[in-house]
Symmetry: C2
Subunit: 238 residues, 2 copies
């Protein structure tokens, strides 16, 4: 029997309207979907896709433990990949639901690594949280020869600083308990006033705040965005 | 009269299926759309949106001259913004069609700068060419604490080199006549074998090549993508 196709589908930042036409069609027609969920928590990916899921779709839920150790999560991906492989071997197409974009900080990458050598794979890109946050903040990210950097907050100060210094615009992700340290750094760099804080962009619960008023710790789905405004032509003509 | 709303709509990388549900709905219901076009050339933005445009939509075409001088293009944006403002003042909503994402190297930013102080604005984010190219190449871009940098090829060698050295994954855009210089640089950095070349991602005319076989000059809609593969957990388990 010809094995089924393994499809990773980006769902965008959260608003179901920001799912692509292709992703919506694939999900509506799916016989099997798979998605990650934290223990005892609604899957965010499934929440975004919910309007498109039909009643008779079989769902593979991959419970991913929260842990600083990597092995437990990797074991969960092993198990999820085995369940998906079983369906693929029966000739079924399996749609994996991915928050944002599958290859931009997505857990899909761990399934892809486990299955890409053995099965036909398709990846459907999605709107990233960075693009969505910029849209909500109405903050142009990159024009002309601007460099955009996406920087995870857990990196050491020195690394974050160097990357900010070399970028025209930057997004700082995975803030969590690091937000105070990152805010102090932006202050030192004279960029705190330009930096904007946004959480849960495009959802009903979206919050936008000046960086000085951002919560500490910050929730997982939050980021800081800033541009040094390198292109003078982007200023409104006076 | 209450002025209309000014909406910039990201259309994604090229395949009309990668337009978001929201963008498709806005375009289908639009009474006025506006978009840029190079002289004597089909507008790429309009081509992507075409399946969603209804027959009785009024179209504002902004012809943007190709020139190394910036003033002629800026004058064209002045003129386009004035046409859009005229419609907004009559209470009409105007949908601006944007390739990719409106705030990621998009000409929409120049209209936004001219109109954002005077009108209600919405920005609908889109799938970027970087996310789409990674999906087509099946190249994971960023996991865990990886830094992703998007770097325009016209920058000097020294600047490109420093930004590559500080990133885990990078996209080099706007290759054009710079592709030979950039390829030589990647060779020096020992990254040429990891770098992949893609043009017109997600379109029927898409081309994927090893960097050594890429055309010189490269077309405008092309990029080089590479990852240093920082996360060992992304390797398929052996």
């Amino acid at each position: 029997m010809k094995p089924g196709k393994f499809i990773g589908v980006g769902l965008g930042p959260g608003d179901p309207d920001l799912v692509t036409v292709r992703a919506a069609r694939l999900i509506s027609g799916a016989s099997i979907i798979a998605y990650p969920a934290l223990p005892q928590t609604e899957s965010f990916a499934r929440r975004i896709a919910a309007p498109y899921i039909s009643g008779d779709t079989h769902e593979i839920v991959m419970e991913i433990p929260m842990s600083r150790q990597r092995a437990p999560a990797q074991a969960a991906y092993d198990h999820g990949a085995a369940q998906i492989a079983e369906a693929l071997d029966l000739g079924e197409t399996v749609i994996v639901l991915c928050e944002g974009d599958p290859f931009f900080y997505g857990s899909f990458m761990y399934l892809h690594a486990r299955l890409c050598d053995r099965y036909e794979v398709e990846v459907v890109p999605g709107v990233t949280s960075v693009a969505a946050s910029a849209a909500r903040l109405q903050l142009p990210l990159a024009a002309r020869n601007d460099v955009l950097a996406t920087i995870p907050a857990p990196l050491p100060d020195h690394d974050i600083r160097k990357r900010i210094e070399m970028a025209d615009s930057f997004a700082i992700l995975k803030l969590g308990a690091h937000i105070g340290r990152v805010s102090a750094l932006l202050d030192q760099l004279g960029l705190a006033d330009r930096a904007q804080y946004i959480e849960r962009a495009t959802l009903d619960e979206e919050v936008v705040l000046p960086l000085s008023q951002a919560p500490d710790p910050a929730p997982y789905f939050s980021m800081i965005l800033a541009t040094k405004g390198a292109d003078p032509w982007l200023k409104p003509p006076s």
